[in-house]
Symmetry: C2
Subunit: 347 residues, 2 copies
């Protein structure tokens, strides 16, 4: 009953330093915001650590999210914080299972905004098939007059199935002849964040999504994925360069095959951006043996968020690691490293 | 060789937004700061997730650290970030094994400061017997003219030994007759942070420490600890109240038994602070059956950081949950909840 009464008041409140004290206000915030939306058997015990079922091998990852603005077309920091960590686990060959949620909140944040973010996390976690089992909340002083920031860290634990036969994906396993597949259009998240920040109204929305169905489909089919990576900060170009470096090989991709939505292409043209270096939050690149390529592509296309998957190139023998782009007009361009800032606070 | 050359330059640099881009500068920062100090077989693979050995049951925890100042008498944010998470795992009955390390760095931070923090984390992790296996780095704009902040999240995974016979400690397992032990003096971390912030020179130092040896000693002896908790934000008073609430019992403690160092006592007297609500970072409270109390106390006293452990009270039947302090002058005082702010950014 106390909780119910509290809840009604809470939605209209702002975060205060007392919410970070570790005392009554902290308990109230945890119960009425996090407890309410993340509610599950493990989390409800409210211990400082969660005890959960393990496995012979587990995967562990962490990501902090500092995206600004916190709400953007197609998503929010909460959806991002779940997708980013779930996708990192998937990329290691693990089945994502448990997430932690640690919030650093600037005082003055409207509790209503926190609730929108937390409920978005809960919804995305449900879609991704993971439980948020433990968390932490810190409150810090607000240092900007016009807004209170919210930073979220999610760490994740996934299980490596004991009966898994195929070796785990690893950049170094790329080999000449392999086919490179991307799961969909490039640059959407990056362009959506940048548009929001510039106050530009357009049809671009973030692609933030958990790739659970796509990757578990490939795994369930026993597919031997040589390498896979979610396309985030740094973009596809940066990932392919890392693959080439790790496997000491060349990667050749065709510009005309790179999937980019027309609005994003126009936006990039306007600002002189290259989709090859732009971050997504719901796309992955897969490297598979040529004989597996068609089957992999069909599984990816049949999965949620994978309808626009395409083969974009191949792995080649090379005297030294390099990524080469075959341009539309028949040229060859070396894909260099991303130098400098990229887009700050994109995730 | 590139790393060596880079390293020499790096120590004198400041963090720039480019270090957060996900491109070359990010790789350099990760290799030359985090990779250099955290170096281990799993981390060195530099995947977005770490694959490690699991167990039938695992414990999972997360904590963000926002302490200010970042360096304080007796420790720094790095030592704190390892101790806090290691201790949370220990308190759940797990053997701490793997940590993640996610840094949010404001541009302008001298790399030399980051290196001091990272090497402190590495040293503390070694003492605590854990490996830092994966991490994340984000850079955000500096928003204060005079300093760049550093925020750290550590998530941790511990293993619950398969052959463990005693049930896991849990607040609800406190029962009438049980003895309450604290592992050492109260309030040191809190008083050290506050002194540093007020610019007061005194002999008080933080007690930040990993309690691995103490707790694993109790576990190895097969001790059935009914409840245990590390004394942090909110202080001993807040924890005992939570124990009493969870177990629906009373807890009586004796003021004269509460261990407080003389300098801390003086400092508290001066500022009107109550050590019962002050945070430590290397102390724990244990609740055990009366027949186990002497043996538990002797194990704790024989362990690192446990020399000053004492029994401070007992669990009692009570009509409703309450914590009662028997004062030095023979009075009874109800230990109420911590209301309001406490000390912001103490951890």
């Amino acid at each position: 009953m106390a909780v119910q009464t509290g809840m009604m008041n809470m939605t209209d409140q702002r975060i205060t330093m007392a919410h970070g004290s570790g005392g009554e206000s902290t308990s109230e915030l945890i119960a009425e915001v996090f407890g309410r939306y993340f509610h599950n058997e493990v989390l409800d015990r409210l211990g400082d650590a969660a005890v959960v079922q393990g496995a012979g091998r587990i995967a562990l990852t962490t990501d902090s999210f500092v995206v600004t603005p916190v709400f953007f077309p197609g998503g929010d920091i909460g959806r991002l914080a779940v997708c980013g960590t779930v996708n990192d686990l998937l990329m290691s060959g693990a089945t994502p299972q448990y997430l932690t949620c640690a919030c650093i909140i600037e005082e003055g944040l409207p509790v209503e905004e926190l609730i929108r973010v937390v409920s978005s996390m809960a919804e995305t976690a449900k879609e991704a098939g993971v439980s948020i089992v433990t968390g932490d909340t810190k409150v810090v002083e607000r240092r900007s007059e016009d807004r209170s920031e919210l930073l979220i860290n999610t760490a994740g634990v996934g299980m490596i199935p004991d009966d898994r036969e195929a070796p785990l994906p690893e950049a170094a396993r790329c080999q000449p002849g392999d086919v490179v597949i991307v799961s969909g259009v490039l640059g959407d998240h990056h362009a959506a964040i940048l548009s929001a920040r510039m106050g530009i109204q357009n049809a671009i929305v973030s692609d933030a999504a958990p790739l659970t169905e796509m990757v578990s489909g490939l795994m369930a089919a026993g597919m031997d994925i040589h390498a896979m990576r979610d396309v985030t900060r740094g973009g596809l170009g940066t990932i392919l360069r890392e693959f080439a470096e790790s496997a000491r090989c060349g990667i050749e991709i065709r510009e005309e095959a790179l999937p980019v939505r027309q609005e994003v292409r126009d936006f990039c043209g306007l600002l002189g951006l290259d989709p090859l270096y732009m971050g997504n939050e719901g796309k992955a690149v897969f490297v598979v043996a040529p004989e597996d390529a068609e089957r992999a592509l069909s599984i990816i296309r049949g999965s949620r968020y994978g309808a626009e998957a395409v083969c974009i190139g191949t792995v080649q023998e090379a005297a030294q690691p390099e990524v080469v782009l075959h341009t539309r007009i028949g040229g060859r361009r070396r894909v260099g490293p991303l130098i400098g800032e990229g887009l700050p606070r994109i995730c």
